[in-house]
């Protein structure tokens, strides 16, 4: 403590010769910057599908949805709730061609069901959805490359049946 007091006195100095303290406040430095454009929506309703701008992520080799994808699926659930004209949505699981087709079909089916269950837990009526695992049967890219296999591992939401647009009335 003595050392501290000594240091303070030295810092203050005889007649305050060592430190000059600002007496009057400075006017603020004004900083302006452009707001970046809003991020494009991650979930978009098209004529025949609910398109998602990023992938649903699962734990490797399982149907466990990773928490990082919960927000995305929450947006899908909201879109379905806001669009009751979508009467039947097929949640589709797809894999790449690595491993046996049978195993991939089973895993993709489990993943599609896992997504469906998650959406139901968020208020989407389960009867409006069905799950189907296609395994490696519907590739959208070349399975010969890492990039192609990454694209093929995916979840899609395709609209199988829809009625006329209905208006959603929300409680205040």
């Amino acid at each position: 403590m003595r050392h501290l007091l000594f240091a303070a006195l030295v810092a203050a100095g005889p007649g305050c010769s060592l430190i000059t303290v600002q007496q009057q406040p400075f006017p603020p430095l004004e900083i302006r910057a452009e707001r970046p454009p809003p991020a494009p929506p991650r979930v978009v309703l098209t004529a025949s599908s609910v398109a998602i701008g990023e992938k649903v992520q699962f734990a490797t080799g399982t149907a466990e949805i990773l928490p990082v994808s919960h927000g995305l699926l929450d947006e899908v659930a909201k879109l379905l709730t806001d669009n009751p004209q979508i009467e039947l949505l097929q949640v589709e699981g797809h894999t790449d061609s690595t491993g046996t087709a049978a195993l991939n079909r089973r895993l993709s089916q489990q993943r599609a069901e896992s997504v469906m269950k998650y959406l139901a837990s968020k208020g989407v009526v389960a009867g409006r959805m069905q799950a189907k695992g296609f395994g490696p049967d519907k590739p959208i890219a070349d399975n010969a490359s890492d990039d192609g296999r990454e694209k093929n591992r995916r979840v899609e939401f395709n609209i199988l049946k829809q009625g006329p647009k209905k208006t959603v009335v929300r409680d205040e």
Partner: protein, 121 residues
């Protein structure tokens, strides 16, 4: 920790006990000019913060010292932060830490400087 406390005590003793003339007009102008010269890097800090929070804005007050003889800005601390973005705060500290007075003084200067952030309308 002890040294910063000692300096704070020293500043308090000096401010309370001796008063003094404070910063001269030329020194104040020098400090303002240095801070203004950092407007662009600080705006870049803010722009980065706006990417994650489009409503980010408010006042941040940085307290620092200008070293005797060199004029280097050092011991930079944020004493008020309405933005609450740790990334922006650290970025501003780094930007201010690169500044030094054009006309260094013989004494150490204790400075507190407000920065106001607002997005372009």
């Amino acid at each position: 920790m002890n040294s910063s406390l000692a300096i704070s005590l020293g500043v308090a003793l000096c401010a309370a006990g001796c008063g003094g003339a404070g910063l001269g007009a030329d020194t104040r102008a020098d400090i303002s000019a240095r801070m203004t010269s950092a407007q662009q890097p600080i705006a870049a800090c803010y722009h980065a913060g706006l990417k994650t929070n489009r409503k980010l804005g408010g006042t941040m007050v940085v307290a620092f010292a200008a070293a005797p003889d060199t004029g280097q800005f050092q011991d930079i601390q944020v004493t008020r932060d309405e933005l609450g973005d740790p990334g922006v705060r650290q970025c501003v500290i780094d930007a201010v830490g690169k500044l030094k007075l054009a006309r260094p003084q013989a004494t150490r200067l204790a400075i507190s400087y407000p920065i106001h952030f607002a997005p372009n309308p």
